[in-house]
Amino acid sequence: MADEKENQSPPPPKKPWEEKPVPPQPQDAREHPLVLEVERACPGRVREAVAFAGQITLKVELEHLLELLAALKGLGYAFLVDLTAVDWKDRPEGRFEVVYWVHRFADSARLRVKAPVPEGAEVPSVVELWPTANWMEREVFDMFGIYFANHPNLERILTWEGFQGHPLRKDFPVEGVDTGAAIYPDVFPPGGGPVKPKGGA
């Protein structure tokens, strides 16, 4: 059916899925109502606000992070959707970036908050604000080695206690490393990593 039509009539205009996709562009979102609302609640703390693909990102300095997040909680963002980090390796303003993604049920508004974290710096824990951050912060600690100040129980969560290294750092090889953590040294002689045995039996 469709083939016949195409043969008879001139080609119809291209459908959106036949065109070359146009990637979204980042835009300044300073004037967005949600950002203005945050700005009113916590003036001068938002360093940068970007809208990308319809999602608003607030960039904030690490020292103002807790203040801003507390203000967001006060604005009704009762739900912490996600908390994670990105390793930017050689970035000047700080190697890592912690990313918070908060949600408000009243109008389904979502905001992303990012703060750069230099290596060795401590990020304030938000467990007090959102209990759900507990395991997420543990995971970020486990995977990136970012310390969270005032966390009730900051221990490794996905890897085992005694694991050396933080797997999601960019300098951690995908093949794994000799973690030096021999759980049963008499059964598995030291030298065998979790993934790639090096030389050992």
Binding site: W17, Q55, D82, W101, T132, W135, V174
Partner: protein, 372 residues
């Protein structure tokens, strides 16, 4: 009184390691239980036994190569995992997928939701001691897997979606078979409910067990049926519709008390709603291509995007950071089970050992996704 009881009766606590090899922990979850007799004083989940570094692997693979890895996270719901990942990449690249592809995705995702809920019902009932529903439900799941197999060749790890659409059109006669299945399923769901819903023992075991109120559920970040069971009407499919969920009608069932029984009812109703969605999708299924035009090499622009779908277990989100290369710079998966499991100690405190099993079942966790 409680103190007196503790002094008189000893009150000595015992530590029980519940798992990782235990019939009721649905994989390799380990719970360190502190029990006073049979009463739970404290429960501490210990996870990570299934950690495979999926997020690390994503950074090494090209975008299309990442999709099979998503199958292996929540292995009971591969299609919804695929849907989330490809949706995120499409959002990042600005791809619009053809409507037929979107409808096929919705059908697959809802079938997957049914299959996941069926596994949940089977194991949940089995944990509480009802053996028979397991076999009744798995018979239906088998039919769903057959449909999957016919479509993409795989039954469990489907890898059935591509960036820009779906890889194949539906095989001939598939829609009729699918329709026959969804016409039959509501009757079967009624059968299962007849075994459980009004069963006195089932109610005794689930009503008032693992209660979590709406406020706490939000604070603990619960999503999916556990959140809806607490009375919060919240479904990504309605709030941030993806694919063409805004074109189909369905209700969001919610519970009242936030206990295990309510979550059970919510999931049972969700199955019916899924059937309803599939029916509408089959009715509306448009003609046309199933793949959008996408570049040969997927190379999204610099940027970051968070995209979430309503998985069977809750909000499944993908946060993708791209540096403009062929591999993602960072992929973060927001695992619903991981977040939901966190509320377990809160939910079982003060209950009996037998209730731990019920609560694990009602949270519907999959360790492949928790540990990634």
């Amino acid at each position: 009184m409680a103190d007196l009881q503790a002094t008189l009766l000893g009150g000595e606590e015992m530590e029980v390691s519940f798992g990782p090899q235990h019939p009721a922990t649905h994989g390799v979850l380990r719970l360190q239980l502190k029990v006073d007799g049979e009463r739970i004083v404290n429960a501490k989940p210990i996870i990570g036994y299934l950690h495979r570094g999926t997020e690390k692997l994503f950074e090494r693979e090209t975008y299309p190569q990442c999709i099979p890895h998503t199958d292996r996270m929540d292995y009971t719901a591969a299609a919804t995992n695929n849907q989330g990942f490809v949706g995120a990449v499409e959002k990042l690249m600005g791809i619009t997928i053809p409507p037929r592809a979107a409808y096929i995705r919705m059908i697959l995702a809802e079938l997957q939701r049914l299959s996941s809920h069926i596994i949940w019902l089977a194991t949940h009932a089995l944990d509480i001691g009802a053996v028979t529903p397991f076999f009744y439900t798995f018979q239906e799941r088998e039919k769903i897997l057959d449909l999957f197999e016919e479509y993409c060749g795989a039954r469990l790890t489907l890898n059935t979606m591509r960036i820009g659409g779906v890889p194949w059109d539906l095989p001939e006669g598939w829609t009729e078979r699918c329709r026959r299945f969804v016409e039959e399923l509501p009757k079967k769901i009624e059968d299962w409910e007849r075994l459980l819903t009004n069963n006195r023992i089932w109610k005794a075991r689930t009503v008032g067990v693992g209660v979590i109120d709406a406020e706490k559920a939000i604070a603990w970040g619960l999503t999916g049926p556990p959140l809806r069971g607490s009375g919060v009407q919240w479904d990504i499919r309605k709030v941030f519709p993806y694919d063409h969920y805004d074109e189909v009608e369905f209700d969001i069932p919610i519970g009242k008390n936030g206990d295990t029984y309510d979550r059970y009812l919510v999931r049972m109703e969700e199955m019916r709603q899924s059937v309803r969605i599939i029916r509408q999708c089959l009715d509306k299924l448009p003609d046309g291509p199933v793949m959008a035009w996408v570049p040969k090499v997927i190379r999204p622009p610099k940027g970051e995007v968070y995209f979430s779908v309503e998985g069977p277990k809750g909000e499944l989100g993908y946060y993708i950071v791209s540096d403009g290369g062929v591999t993602p710079y960072r992929v973060r998966v927001r695992p619903p089970c991981f977040v939901n499991l966190q509320a377990l100690p809160e939910m079982v405190k003060g209950h009996l050992v037998a209730d731990v099993v019920a609560v694990i079942g009602t949270l519907d966790i999959v360790l492949g996704e928790i540990d990634r």
